[in-house]
Amino acid sequence: MVPVTYYLVLSAILFTIGVAAFIFKRNIITIFMSIELMLNAVNLSFVAFANMHHNLDGHIFVFFVMVVAAAEAAVGLAIIISVFRTRETLNVDRVNLLKL
């Protein structure tokens, strides 16, 4: 038997590490991966609450989060490819002009 709080604490830890990676990383692809980490942390708390309330709605919401994450990854990586084509860099500090 594990208290549900442990799962929520783990989810909070993962979310915080995701926020830290989002702020400190400079590579645009790694920043994108930290967003995925935050989405995964939220999914864990959805599943933990579904278990706690004996309700399957949490699982459904996890599917929707995954669908949105997949759509976001496809569009975001396409944007990264087109940014790399025009700037020749992946460092977010060097992508600081709206116009070339």
Partner: protein
């Protein structure tokens, strides 16, 4: 007992993978540690009785989405990340921001830690049929709307990544 042991082992692997994502300099190392995090999260979903979510986690997240990431990293030949002037500003403002976030999360968790509910191994296991019933009855409209969202995302990705003539 076995539940606690499995939880702590895979929670430790999860946190170690996430920290590795934060500390590694090369994006491919970060991507591989993110796959480790997703795999151990799938096992935690199994402990919580969500078998279908665990399978989808492995297939969609660790499979499809991370393959896309690794593919883009190799396509763009991404190297070790460099640190510039802006990254020092990010550290100055980011450390207090993350510290504030940790403080708030800890405060809320300590306030709400009176939740006495104990997760039991096999205490809440529903067949996939029930999930499907819910998804295709109550949540039919959101399901169809997400299919439109995916279609638009595919078209957007194709338009964005196409080489200008």
């Amino acid at each position: 007992m076995i539940h606690q042991a499995l939880f702590f082992i895979f929670a430790a692997i999860c946190v170690a993978g996430a920290l590795n994502l934060l500390l590694q300099k090369h994006p491919i190392s970060s991507a591989l540690s993110l796959i480790v995090v997703m795999g151990s999260l799938a096992l935690l979903y199994l402990l919580l009785g969500a078998q279908f979510v665990a399978a989808i986690q492995i297939i969609v997240y660790a499979g499809a989405i991370m393959v896309l990431f690794v593919f883009v990293i190799m396509l763009l030949n991404a190297g070790i990340e460099e640190h510039t002037e802006g990254s020092r500003i990010a550290v100055y403002f980011g450390v207090p921001a993350v510290a504030a976030l940790v403080g708030m999360v800890l405060y809320v968790l300590l306030k709400t830690s009176h939740i006495e509910y104990q997760v039991q191994l096999g205490g809440f296991v529903k067949p996939t049929r029930d999930v499907a019933m819910l998804l295709f009855r109550e949540y039919l409209l959101p399901f169809e709307v997400t299919s439109v969202l995916i279609l638009i995302a595919i078209m957007g990705a194709v338009v964005l990544a196409r080489r200008e003539p």
